[in-house]
């Protein structure tokens, strides 16, 4: 365990070093990431005001709170995309990683955790600026804040494992981007990223509850906004654990089978 922590810490520091080296890139990347929620925010607050007070149970202030929290959630759940995984296999970079006596998943995880520290620090002033402009309505209780912070990390780890498993499809399909597009489109619609899930029809919300997407995105925002009961919070964490274990199981299965096929592409 000590040895594994040493690896995580060293890789974490390397990720920080890389992030510090490209400060301007980080800033522009972050600004680019802000554009998406600001557009949603402007649209929905305008709709809420036009309707008199609220849309789907959200006032203009609550929409502001939703999408400002959204920016942090989005940053925190960024993980290695399957596209990057595809690139890693096609270009044969995986070979170097396979020679090491360590599952490459560990270094990826440590690397992304390192990145989070920098993006979080950059997010703080941007969130403050958005709050000044859009006046969010946000009065969470302590347990909701604590739940939100824990869920940020658990959602990232869960999404990370699921995307890793999805990336492993590259062992079987050389150009697998279409599959990834399907996944990300479903995630956009059914996670609470495009719109809060309560604005979707009942049947769509039920589907969202059965899939992993809500538990990496909308769940923790709804928790922070005080829209979930303690029981619903527990159910959310349980769903995260379930999907994490599911992803981990898939990684385990696909990894072993995939390595046997690792030859035709980029070895």
């Amino acid at each position: 365990m000590k040895a594994l922590l040493d690896i995580y810490w060293t890789d974490f520091k390397n990720a920080l070093a890389v992030m510090f080296q490209y400060r301007v890139r980080q800033l522009f990347w972050l600004l680019g990431m802000i554009a998406e929620p600001v557009i949603y925010l402007v649209v929905w607050t305008t709709v809420a005001r036009a309707r008199g007070s609220e849309v789907g149970g959200y006032t203009a202030g609550e929409f502001a709170a939703y999408y400002i929290a959204w920016t942090l959630v989005r940053h925190m759940n960024i993980a290695l995309t399957p596209y990057a995984f595809e690139d890693r296999i096609r270009r044969g970079r995986l070979s170097a990683e396979l020679l090491r006596q360590l599952h490459p998943l560990h270094l990826d995880l440590a690397w992304f955790l390192g990145m989070k520290v920098v993006t979080f620090a950059l997010w703080l002033p941007i969130a403050a600026l958005l709050a000044l402009i859009f006046h969010p309505t946000l009065n969470p209780e302590l347990w909701q804040v604590v739940g939100f912070l824990i869920a940020l990390v658990t959602a990232f780890i869960m999404r990370f494992v699921i995307l890793w498993a999805l990336g492993l499809a590259t062992f079987w399909i050389t150009r697998v981007s279409a599959l990834f597009e399907l996944f990300f489109t479903a995630e956009l619609l059914l996670s609470g990223r495009l719109v809060p899930l309560s604005l979707l029809p009942g049947w769509a919300q039920q589907i969202a509850n059965l899939l992993p997407f809500r538990w990496v995105f909308g769940f923790q925002i709804e928790l922070l906004l005080g829209r979930l009961t303690p029981q619903e919070m527990v159910i959310g964490f349980a769903a995260q654990v379930f999907w994490f274990l599911f992803g981990l199981g898939m990684v385990h299965l696909l990894w072993r089978a995939g390595l046997r096929r690792y030859s035709a592409v980029g070895a």
């Binding site: 690896i7 060293t10 520091k13 890389v18 170097a96 020679l99 090491r100 006596q101 046997r260």
Partner: protein, 325 residues
């Protein structure tokens, strides 16, 4: 006991295939055609501890595929192999800890940070005790003269500098078996020489077994007493480099120094080159002693040397004959 044992090893790749043009592309939607390519076709050899063996062959001969199977990256289609008593495809941690593979075309250092930071990561991954790590790192930095190199981000290094850092990183955990795939590819002559010298020195110091592929015969001549020549996935020759030259060189080169280089020596052999005092002749191997004796008897020669043909030509001849040893 051999460190590497390979018996009847085969690797077949399934490659998609279709004709050129739109019609063939549309046809491919319905019915895919594939072709089986035998990259490695029943090779058998052993490598003893501490040996440096050169793996020679043209592009597509099966050299890299063999190295990848031996290092556990690829699953063989058939045959058996063991490295340090392990079956590479099982990828056991204790096996991976004892081997290293450096590929000239690939890099494993983190691109945006100095090599020293990547070295630290390797220390952590291989659980190298601090003192051992510092000793190995400083030794490699000294041997390959990399003091300035290791502080620069890897992306700012030249190809040769990067290769030095790659080799150092791969050896930090002191592997017992070191696979090198084209380590000097694309490097200038000075850098090739330096990397070659390091590999030789490292092998002498630590008795590491080295299996090396290279397109540069100079690498092979400088480092390998034994060579394995592979072509179309089959071994054509396995033995001492000197025996390869002896067996497959059809001719020798006689370099004659005369007071007057303008003398016509075409009656003695093929004149390869000529300047004011030196003439280079090519003669059939069987005729070498007879021609040498005639030259010495007939002409006022001040110096005469008999040389083997360049190794490249010998290898080309092996490939042309495709003779299995």
């Amino acid at each position: 006991m051999p460190v590497i044992q390979v018996f009847n090893l085969c690797k077949t790749f399934v490659v998609p295939e279709r004709e050129a043009g739109l019609r063939a592309a549309l046809g491919g939607l319905v019915r895919r055609k594939t072709r089986q390519v035998k990259a490695v076709d029943g090779i058998t050899f052993e490598v003893a501890p501490g040996e440096i063996v050169g793996f020679l062959g043209p592009n597509g001969a099966g050299k890299t595929t063999t190295l990848k199977m031996l290092s556990g990256l690829l699953y063989p289609t058939a045959g058996e192999m063991s490295v340090l008593g392990y079956i590479p495809t099982r990828r056991e941690k204790s096996f991976l800890r004892q081997i290293a593979l450096v590929m000239g075309q690939r890099n494993q250092l983190v691109w945006d940070i100095p090599a020293l930071d990547s070295f630290e990561l390797f220390r952590a991954i291989y659980h190298i005790p601090d003192a051992d790590f510092r000793r190995a790192r400083d030794e490699f930095i000294g041997l390959m003269e990399m003091r300035d190199i290791v502080h620069k981000p890897v992306r700012n290094l030249s190809l040769g500098e990067r290769m030095k850092a790659e080799i150092a990183a791969a050896l930090l955990h002191r592997p017992q078996v070191f696979f090198l795939d084209e380590p000097t590819i694309g490097l200038d002559v000075t850098m090739q020489r330096r990397i070659r010298a390091f590999i030789g020195e490292y092998n002498r110091r630590y008795g590491t077994t080295v299996l090396l592929t290279s397109h540069y015969m100079a690498d092979v001549v400088a480092l390998c007493r034994r060579v394995i020549v592979i072509h179309h996935g089959k071994i054509l020759f396995d033995g001492d480099l000197s025996r390869l030259i002896e067996r497959f060189s059809a001719y020798k080169t006689i370099v004659v120094t005369l007071d007057d280089g303008s003398v016509d020596l075409s009656a003695y052999g093929d004149v390869v080159s000529k300047d004011t005092t030196r003439v280079t002749l090519r003669v059939a191997k069987a005729d070498t002693s007879r021609v040498t004796a005639r030259l010495l008897a007939d002409l006022p020669i001040t110096d005469l040397t008999v040389e083997d043909p360049p190794i490249e030509e010998v290898i080309a001849r092996v490939f042309a004959q495709e003779r299995v040893e």
